[in-house]
């Protein structure tokens, strides 16, 4: 027997309410993220590296700030500058709240990237960007922590080489909790949208 239109409509409504309730249950009071929500799926921001001023820093030094973590290297002529230039535009679009956010650019090329080179590099993009370098072991440990990967490609002669690396941007809240994952091809609007939400969340009391 074919159900009448009002019955089907009612069934649909019940289903929709059910789905909404379920979603509400699972997500709690989660903001409407546009990027990939990784809350609870990746570890907190934790590392011990050297910043571009030569100072030893840890993940805890950035508590209170929303952190955008990106792996790259300074001899990367295209994808890294593209990503950092886009993040600079994102920071500009955020306006004053961007002062509560930091871009952490972690080198996957510790053999060539020294703090002074990293300093010149990150500051060419954004004043809220920080370059981080570490021993090959510490760098690898941080990459592994976030299931990121990098591979040094064969020498192209004259000592030049490329490093293939994960292109994701990891976004942490002010408590150092991993919250979102963005790809370099993510819409700038979406990154700005989610960072506004994340910056509004404040620090857990």
């Amino acid at each position: 027997m074919k159900s009448s239109f009002p019955v089907r409509l009612l069934a649909l409504l019940v289903l929709l309410v059910g789905v909404a309730a379920l979603a509400g249950c699972q997500r709690g009071a989660q903001p409407p993220w546009r990027l990939t929500d990784v809350s609870g799926h990746l570890p907190d921001l934790d590392f011990k590296l050297t910043d571009d001023n030569g100072k030893t820093v840890t993940g805890a030094d950035y508590r209170g700030k929303v952190v955008l973590l990106y792996f790259g290297y300074t001899h990367c002529p295209d994808v890294c500058p593209l990503t950092l230039a886009q993040l600079h535009v994102v920071m500009q679009r955020l306006g004053a709240p961007a002062d509560d956010a930091r871009i952490l650019f972690v080198s996957v090329d510790p053999a060539r990237d020294t703090p002074p080179i990293m300093h010149a590099y990150v500051n060419a993009f954004d004043k809220r960007a920080i370059g981080l370098v570490g021993s090959p072991r510490d760098t690898e440990a941080l990459a592994k922590r976030f299931r990121s990967a990098f591979t040094r490609e064969p020498d192209k002669g004259d000592g030049a080489y490329d490093v293939s690396h994960s292109s994701a941007i990891y976004i942490f809240d002010r408590d150092g909790k991993a919250r979102l994952l963005a790809t370099p091809s993510a819409a700038q609007d979406d990154i700005v949208h989610d960072l506004h939400l994340l910056l509004d969340l404040g620090v857990k009391a």
């Binding site: 790259g72 300074t74 001899h75 990367c76 002529p77 295209d78 994808v79 890294c80 500058p81 593209l82 950092l84 230039a85 886009q86 600079h88 535009v89 080179i117 010149a120 590099y121 500051n123 060419a124 993009f125 954004d126 990967a149 490609e153 030049a160 490329d162 293939s164 690396h165 994960s166 292109s167 994701a168 790809t183 370099p184 091809s185």
Partner: protein, 148 residues
Amino acid sequence: MTKTFIALLLLCATGTAFANDAASLRASGAWIRVMPANLPAGGYVTLENTGDTPVTLTTASTTAFGHAMIHRSSTDGGMGRMEMVHSVTLPPHASTAFAPGGYHVMLTDAVKPLAVGDKVPVTFTLGDGSTLPVDFIARPANATGPTD
């Protein structure tokens, strides 16, 4: 007589083809991302092929840098990587963009430090041996295009 005619025809055909490749291309929005500390820089341009046949672009050269190579970046599968490209085919009646994240001219070992606003002449060599000179404008590291 016939031989002369064929020879003339051949000459014409070669002559036309020779002029064609570079003549059918229009370059626009050429810029270089200037990096600090003499780090490798990317060069970007839009090339429009106004002709009826595909044009092959084989090499790039410039006196402003020690090396100029055509590369292509990709972020397939979440990995950012680069590969050297031996030729790029520019389809007829279409524009091909050398843009961040894709095709680019990788420029290394600047002869002298570039300043924002400098013009850098780059010459592309095409499949038929003709050449296309293009002036690239030096732009800041955090630029996202030729004019932003």
